[in-house]
Amino acid sequence: MNVTRFLIACSSLLLGLGLIGPTLTIFPKAGDLTWFIKIIAPEELEVSTYSILGVIQKLFQTNDIFLAMILAMFSVFSPVLKLSFYWHASGLKDSNKFNSTLQIIHYVGKFSMAEVFALALIIVTIKSFPGGSTANLEWGAYLFTFSVICSMFVSFRLDSRKG
């Protein structure tokens, strides 16, 4: 197996774990009323952890179909599709086919960082909640990021072949 395909395989494994592993932990607070909520409904202040697939599932369950589809498209289908094209391109010997595949990869790749943007948005939103609620990134998010970094190296290697 060549280095490019090894990087694609690493990126795929990291992506798989990043999608299902814990990504975001939310620590809810209710400001000055935190003590009161702890007495009357302590389960409301329970720390909750979500994975990317867990968030998508929850969005489906709460009938937020549009958001669920957007998140699924940008964080699941688009990165998998991009890696599939990388694998395909890495085995091509015909330079015309290789160049056209690379063009498609660049087009698909535009969508696959949206998940990182969505995570950042969630964290900023939660941190701006009244009551001091906080959100922390978990190891799933880091694996996802490493998957993206691996795929960037793949992209550089394929681009250098183009030249």
Partner: protein, 217 residues
């Protein structure tokens, strides 16, 4: 006899390799799911066990908070005279009976033909600021009953006076008739009751704050 060598064997289509990243993603996800699934199943069973019905009829064996959010009385008392000799409206208080025992007594609402109570209140004193803890029983102003089929609860309404308290009336309610949330009873005036309307709220004990707030609305 045919002789097929590796060189002659049919080759998979070019796109076939593109499926490998998808397989690797599924393998990694599946592996993580496999090693954590037992733990998560345990948690989900626990969640199901703790699931509480937030609407519809009451569930046998479940404990509920019960309180009257509103009691309306007729403009005249049992003797068909004005309340408090026409000077003021009645000072209304109610008590809730279950299995022959008073399980809750409300605070008195002065000069009201329509008295209302919130199921949730905290009375804080200066000493509370010195670290006194408040229990949920102190915070929720309601009686606690356990639903069993065929049982009844009784609500007794009184006009609180300095000299002696006057009966406004009593109303017996079959627990089978109750639903989670708002229950309204419209009553006719009789010789023994001047209660016009009772709005009773039933909340499952153990529900979360959002559900409690919605049911209390």
């Amino acid at each position: 006899m045919t002789d097929i060598s590796d060189f002659d064997a049919p080759k998979p289509p070019a796109w076939f390799g593109a499926v490998i990243p998808l397989i690797l993603v599924l393998l990694a996800s599946g592996f993580y799911w496999f090693i954590t699934t037992d733990k998560e199943n345990g948690e989900s069973v626990d969640t199901l066990n703790r699931k509480i019905k937030l609407s519809g009829r009451l569930s046998p064996g479940q404990t509920y908070y019960v309180f009257a959010s509103e009691v309306e009385v007729y403009p005249t008392n049992l003797k068909n005279e004005s309340w408090d000799q026409g000077k003021k409206g009645p000072d209304i208080r109610y008590r809730l009976f279950w299995k022959g025992n008073a399980v809750f007594e409300s605070i008195t609402k002065d000069d009201s033909l329509i008295a209302d109570w919130s199921g949730l209140s905290i009375e804080l004193n200066w000493k509370d600021l010195l670290g006194k803890s408040v229990s949920s029983d102190d915070a929720i102003k309601a009686g606690r009953i356990r639903f069993e089929k065929g049982e009844k609860i009784e609500i007794a309404v009184e006009d609180v006076d300095v000299a002696s308290d006057d009966d406004v009336g009593r109303h017996e309610i079959e627990m089978d008739e109750l639903s989670v949330g708002k229950n309204e009873f419209k009553l006719k005036k009789t010789e023994t009751s001047a209660i016009r309307r009772i709005t009773l709220r039933v909340l499952p004990v153990g529900s979360n704050i959002e559900d409690l707030a919605n049911i209390m609305k």
